[in-house]
């Protein structure tokens, strides 16, 4: 029995999404969000939407992560709540 490729990607996406909102360190949350974007990119490519996958990889995982880190430099790294 082989596990379908899209099921594995789906499990990784859900793990990354839950980890990104529960982790205490904001820099780690940004990095996990970047990993989430890459798994979403793999999912789009598996579904045949190569153009959407390209946009997800370049915009969300590339520039989006950089903008979050630039915003993090203006605040504290640890959450207060």
């Amino acid at each position: 029995m082989t596990i379908p490729f899209d099921l594995i990607i789906q499990i990784f996406v859900i793990i990354c999404a839950i980890a990104a909102i529960t982790v205490r360190d904001l820099l780690s949350a940004v990095m996990i969000l970047g990993a989430y974007s890459f798994f979403m990119c793999l999912m789009w490519a598996q579904m045949g939407a190569v153009d959407v996958a390209f946009t997800e990889a370049s915009v969300s995982a590339g520039i989006g992560t950089i903008l979050f880190i630039a915003a993090l430099m203006k605040t504290t790294r640890r959450t207060k709540d």
Binding site: V50, T55, V59, I66, A70, M73, K74
Partner: protein
């Protein structure tokens, strides 16, 4: 505020890597009309290469090569190319962005003129997206205040 670092490994590797990233971005823009990619994605990759230079080499060096005023100018030029091609098609008695009418001034057949018109629009979108992405990062990392102004205030 991002200041100039002193790590020679990071600076050298980023200086070697930036031209290849920009070459790949130009490839994505140029092949956007018949393969995945296009003006938006290529422009984002081109902007990301500028951001990499900003992170590794600091504000002062990037501001000398590609300042914020030039970024604003480039974004306006990109929009001008896009809308200019659109209005050129209107002047040639077609619809807005009807590239096939461009064959009258390009001296090629209408199908080829359509391909060239889309390429021109992709180049305009690439310019605008590259400048705007760099400008957003510039504003977030400096907080809207350039270090030159701070020095004058002190």
């Amino acid at each position: 505020m991002i200041i100039r670092g002193e790590d020679i490994i990071i600076k050298t590797i980023s200086r070697v890597l930036v031209p290849f990233i920009q070459l790949y971005a130009l490839y994505v823009i140029m092949h956007g009309h018949y393969s995945p990619g296009g003006g938006f994605q290529g422009g984002v990759i081109l902007g990301a290469s500028m951001v990499l230079l900003f992170i590794t080499h600091g504000y002062a060096e990037v501001n000398r090569k590609f300042s914020e005023n030039i970024a604003v100018l480039f974004s306006s030029i990109g929009v001008l190319i896009y809308s200019g091609i659109g209005f050129l098609c209107l002047l040639l008695l077609g619809n807005y962005l009807d590239y096939s009418k461009l064959y009258k001034i390009l001296s090629v057949d209408p199908a080829h003129a359509r391909s060239l018109g889309i390429l021109g629009v992709e180049i305009g979108v690439g310019f605008a997206v590259m400048a705007v992405m760099f400008s957003i990062f510039f504003d977030i990392s400096t907080g809207g205040v350039s270090p030159d102004d701070e020095e004058e205030a002190e």
